[in-house]
């Protein structure tokens, strides 16, 4: 069982979205995910997941996807 880097990043983004966005509106939840990933993820990780958004589209949950779009815009 050896996960590749991209699938691991997708899983991490989904986990963050599932845990952090609770009790918030969708916009707030997206903001929280953006903030968390910006604070704790290295730039190459953000670049990698953003560069492969299409490939991961089916695997990313909606909040994570919206957050990554915003993150991508800032890269």
């Amino acid at each position: 069982m050896s996960t590749n880097e991209l699938s691991h990043l997708v899983k991490m983004a989904n986990q963050i979205a599932s845990n952090i966005g609770l009790g918030s509106t969708e916009d707030e939840a997206v903001d929280k995910v953006v903030n968390h990933i910006s604070l704790f993820w290295a730039r190459p990780m953000r670049e990698k997941i953003c560069a492969n958004m299409q490939e991961s589209a089916n695997d990313l949950n909606p909040i994570a996807t919206k957050a990554l779009v915003q993150i991508n815009a800032k890269l």
Binding site: M1, S2, H8, S18, N19, I20, A42, P44
Partner: protein
């Protein structure tokens, strides 16, 4: 310290104004701090003295006016005035016993000759400690003892450290009228079964100090006095050899013994030490202070130091006895390099090793970019060393790819406590437990993993504190001698957050919250939102019972107990953090403490029990890729600029890779160089297949360690590390206590670890200049507000300091968040339960959880190279009898353990400690491959691996000669790599 009144300067001490009764502040005597830790006062200070601070009584001892706190024994009062009454069965680590009668005195107006150890000092008492009558009585007593004692003092191992010999001298014993021919115990057989100490009953005076130490100090109750009268003897277990008994080899009995009866084998072999150096243990996060007892530059004994504020004179089998690894033959003391891991090592000079490493790192960065290299700091190294490694990464590598092994243990603690309280650290001192009324232990096993603190907990429990244990496994605290948990909530692994939410739900549901403190101290808006969330029925114990396995009624009772029993303290370990919701659980714990006003005073708090000696310190020192020292985010311009100026370099404002991400990128081929100091990721990190693949992909792996550990087998550069005995520095324990580590011998490899890092950094083109670790600490203090007033000079004065230690709190901060939370108002965080993706299936129907055992430490690199392996020579799989029976497994059978990540083979231990459906193992032996089984699932916020939940299958192995495929590969690889050392 309180002295005889004739030695007190009335102008400065305040004593001259003292009479009977209450006196005003300033307090002039603190029985806990104002004593000489190297002196034995005979009986303990009256710590539970109900009288107000400063209320002293006056008595006269041999004509000297002595003032002491109420409850002080006459023996102790005399000792405080430097009048040392002879004694044998008394020692100030144990309650008075009154059996030897040597300390008898005369008290004016009282009949007979009371034992001064059991007689409380009273106002106006007039005591005579020495006159012809008591002298004669004492000589008679000694005469009786010596009539049944070998007269081999000159060749006795205790010669020079024997209280019996000393007392014979003090009382002036000159002959033994009874002769030595009568019945005696001189032929009693020695018990040498324990690898570290012997029990020689021929030298025993049956003073019961060992028995009492085992009870009072350690709390194991392994020793007793069996039989009566002349037949009385110290007995381990039920007249068993020490090794066959319940003895945990903490050594408290050896330390308490006034004769040679219980002696360290090292002292028997080598003789008494000639000097001692006070230092700090390099094992768990308790951070015990020890006297390293030395002969020249050789450690002959480690004695827990009574002045140590974390351990108060106690120790465990690791700290006291397992120091032999430091001089083990496996130590590698010469730098080595090689081009590939398929080649033999070449021994080289430090300069050549530094130059080789630097050139490779620079080459990698040129080809793969600045971010293609990084470093890992160690919680086993000092604050100063850790600080230097992160500085090297940030300044010399030019990125923030630095992480630490706390990533895989307590990173959720830092995240969770910062989010709720505002500071990434535990809130209390260890002493605080003495004021606790109810303790809740969650996912921790203190009697194995933090044994000295475990003993302090047990002491408080014996005094009547209540106990809630939350653990899938029945740990020793659940039921032991004179300790029984009021509630053991045996949840299923992975349901922590459901549990903590249910606890909070009950407290709100039943109106048990502390409304006043919430209104005054917490962010009310966050509380209201949280209250609405937690009040939902889905968090009720009746609902969570369905998947957590905790009966609702039991959970409700536990919640009521925690909320209403007085001071409630939560102690937790890696069973909280090492989950996919580790950070949520830490926040849930913080919520619960704030909800019930259990923060900000003695006896309460949220206490993460740190696994390794310097987990707290390594985190404090900026080892995380997103934070500079003092937990300040790298993106903050003001702080970063401060460091840029001090370090004369431009810093990257972006967070770097965590260990997990480094390994992922290495597998992908974009991350190529790694500097690892004192850490063994190949053994300790989850999903070994993945880790090994990553390490094999590196072009330059630099390992700095004392042994060729599992990670070093994949390395290209090996830099010799130094043990804690070979360098100066500091460790910071679980109570934020910064304690000195002192060099007692020269580094076997010629350089201390901090010097090695300086050499590597210089070769990389970034020179750091320090002449001594104290200068590194000065730099840390100048850049880190919580360390502002920390220096080696202050540490020498105070013994230790708890951060924050700054201008506002120059003597440190034992208890945090007293007036307000560090962040201002306490923040209630929403903690929805999100089940882990690691689920049981038909193929993997059981859950594996992992942990530690008393005698071994972490990856075992140190303890496996000591006699501690006598207790735990291999990792075993604990399995419930029902599951074992289903599979035809009995204790000792070889079993296969398989998960989605891999499989390995271990021996089984069938035990009711486990619940059906859950199995458990430790990870102290690399060949066990516990981490072959664990997956790369991790905490959502911090990537702390989910070691505690892995779906597995267990089957009996029929061909016991077989090993798993990985184990066979591991054995072959190890053999190959060891052969590369011999060239």
């Amino acid at each position: 310290m309180l002295q005889r009144s004739d030695s007190v300067n009335p102008d400065t001490s305040g004593l001259s104004s003292l009479g009977t009764g209450t006196v005003a502040a300033p307090m002039i005597f603190d029985p806990r701090t104002d004593i000489d830790p190297d002196k034995d006062y005979g009986t303990p200070a009256p710590t539970n003295d109900p009288t107000p601070v400063g209320e002293l009584i006056t008595l006269h001892i041999d004509g000297n006016e002595v003032r002491v706190p109420k409850g002080t024994s006459v023996l102790r009062a005399a000792a405080m005035a430097d009048i040392n009454i002879p004694k044998l069965c008394a020692t100030d680590s144990l309650e008075a016993f009154g059996s030897c009668r040597l300390c008898l005195v005369q008290i004016e107006g009282r009949r007979g000759y009371p034992a001064s150890c059991t007689t409380p000092a009273e106002e106006g008492m007039v005591v005579k400690t020495q006159n012809d009558k008591v002298a004669k009585l004492r000589r008679n007593i000694m005469e009786m003892y010596i009539s049944d004692h070998p007269l081999d003092c000159l060749t006795c191992s205790a010669n020079g450290d024997c209280e019996l010999q000393d007392m014979a001298g003090v009382v002036g014993l000159r002959n033994v009228r009874y002769g030595y021919e009568g019945d005696n115990h001189l032929d009693a057989e020695k018990d040498e079964s324990n690898p570290y100490f012997t029990f020689d009953p021929s030298k025993c005076i049956v003073c019961s100090r060992c028995v009492r130490a085992c009870e009072e100090t350690q709390g194991t109750f392994a020793l007793t006095i069996s039989s009566r009268g002349f037949e009385s003897k110290v007995s381990a277990g039920q007249d068993q050899a020490f090794m066959d008994s319940e003895c945990v080899s903490c050594g408290a009995c050896v330390q308490a013994c006034p004769t040679a009866t219980l002696s360290e084998k090292s002292i028997i072999d080598k003789g008494q030490p000639e000097h001692s150096v006070i230092t700090t243990c390099a094992y768990c996060g308790v951070g015990c202070a020890f006297k390293a007892d030395m002969k020249g530059d050789e450690v002959v004994r480690m004695t827990p130091w009574k002045g140590g504020k974390a351990n108060r004179g106690h120790s465990c089998v690791k700290g006291r006895f397992a120091f032999g690894y430091a001089t083990h033959g496996d130590r590698i003391t010469t730098p080595m390099i090689r081009d590939s891991i398929d080649e033999p090592w070449r021994k080289v000079s430090y300069e050549e090793a530094f130059s080789f490493a630097a050139s490779r790192i620079k080459g990698i960065q040129k080809e793969f970019g600045r971010n293609s290299v990084g470093g890992i700091t160690s919680s086993r190294c000092t604050n100063e060393e850790t600080y230097l490694v992160q500085k090297l990464v940030r300044a010399a590598f030019g990125n923030n790819n630095v992480d630490t092994c706390a990533r895989v243990c307590h990173s959720p603690t830092g995240f969770g406590l910062k989010a709720t309280f505002g500071e990434s650290a535990g809130t209390q001192t260890f002493d605080s437990v003495e004021k606790t009324d109810v303790m809740m232990v969650i996912g921790a096993n203190p009697t194995d993993a933090h044994p000295v603190f475990g003993s302090r907990m047990k002491k408080r429990l014996r005094e009547g504190a209540k106990l809630i244990v939350v653990d899938p496994r029945s740990i020793d605290l659940v039921s032991g001698p004179h300790v029984k948990a009021n509630h053991h909530l045996q949840l299923l692994p992975g349901t922590n957050v459901a549990f903590i939410n249910a606890m909070a739900h009950v407290i709100i549901d039943e109106g048990l919250e502390s409304t006043t403190s919430i209104q005054e101290r917490c962010d009310v808006e966050s509380f209201e939102a949280w209250k609405a969330f937690i009040s939902d029925k889905r968090h009720s114990p009746e609902e969570t019972e369905k998947y957590s396995g905790i009966p609702a009624a039991e959970l409700r009772a536990a919640a009521r107990l925690y909320a209403t029993a007085g001071n409630g303290a939560i102690y937790y370990g890696l069973g909280v953090t090492e989950h996919s919701q580790g950070s949520s659980m830490v926040m849930g714990i913080a919520n619960l403490a704030m909800l019930t006003d259990n923060i900000g005073r003695e006896g309460v708090g949220v206490n993460p029990l740190r696994g390794q000696n310097n987990v707290q310190g390594s985190c404090d020192m900026g080892s995380f890729p997103h934070e500079l020292p003092g937990y300040r985010h790298i993106s903050g311009d003001e702080v970063r600029t401060q460091f840029e100026k001090a370090w004369n370099v431009t810093l990257d404002p972006e967070p770097g890779y965590r260990i997990t991400n480094m390994l992922d990128a290495a597998v992908e081929g974009t991350y190529k160089g790694l500097y690892v100091q004192g850490e063994d990721i190949a053994q300790s990190d989850p999903n070994t297949h993945h880790v090994e693949q990553a390490l094999k992909n590196l072009d330059c792996l630099i390992v700095q360690d004392i042994f060729l550990n599992e990670t070093a087998k994949f390395a290209h550069v090996f830099l010799p590390g130094s043990s804690f005995l070979e360098k100066d520095g500091t460790f910071t324990n679980a109570e934020r206590r910064i304690s000195p580590v002192r060099k007692v011998m020269e580094p076997l490899g010629g350089l201390s670890d901090w010097e090695v890092t300086l050499g590597l950094s210089k070769a990389l083109g970034y020179e750091m200049n320090y002449n001594h670790p104290s200068e590194i600490m000065d730099e840390i203090a100048s850049l880190t507000p919580t360390f502002e007033r920390v220096s080696y000079e202050r540490l020498d004065q105070e013994g230790s300091l708890q951060w924050p230690c700054n201008d506002e709190t120059p003597n440190g901060t034992p208890i945090m968040h007293i007036e307000e939370y560090t962040r201002g108002k306490g923040n209630f965080a929403l903690t929805e339960y999100v089940p882990t993706e690691e689920k049981v299936t038909k193929r993997f129907p059981m859950l594996l959880t992992t942990g530690r055992i008393l005698s071994q430490y972490n990856v075992g690199a140190q303890t496996r190279r000591t006699e501690n392996s006598s207790w735990h020579g291999e990792d075993v799989l604990e399995i419930h009898p029902h599951d074992a029976e289903d599979r035809g497994i009995v204790t000792g059978d070889k079993i296969s353990l398989a998960s989605r990540a891999g499989d390995t083979q271990l021996r089984a231990l069938v035990t009711k400690r486990m619940q059906p459906g859950v199995v458990y193992t430790t990870f102290h032996h690399p060949e066990s491959g516990a981490n072959i089984i664990t997956t790369d699932n991790s905490d959502w916020a911090t990537n702390c691996p989910e070691y505690k939940v892995t779906a597995v299958q267990v089957n009996k192995v029929l061909n016991t000669e077989d090993a798993s495929e990985w184990q066979a590969q591991f054995a072959a690889f190890t053999k190959e790599q060891l052969a590369y050392l011999d060239n």
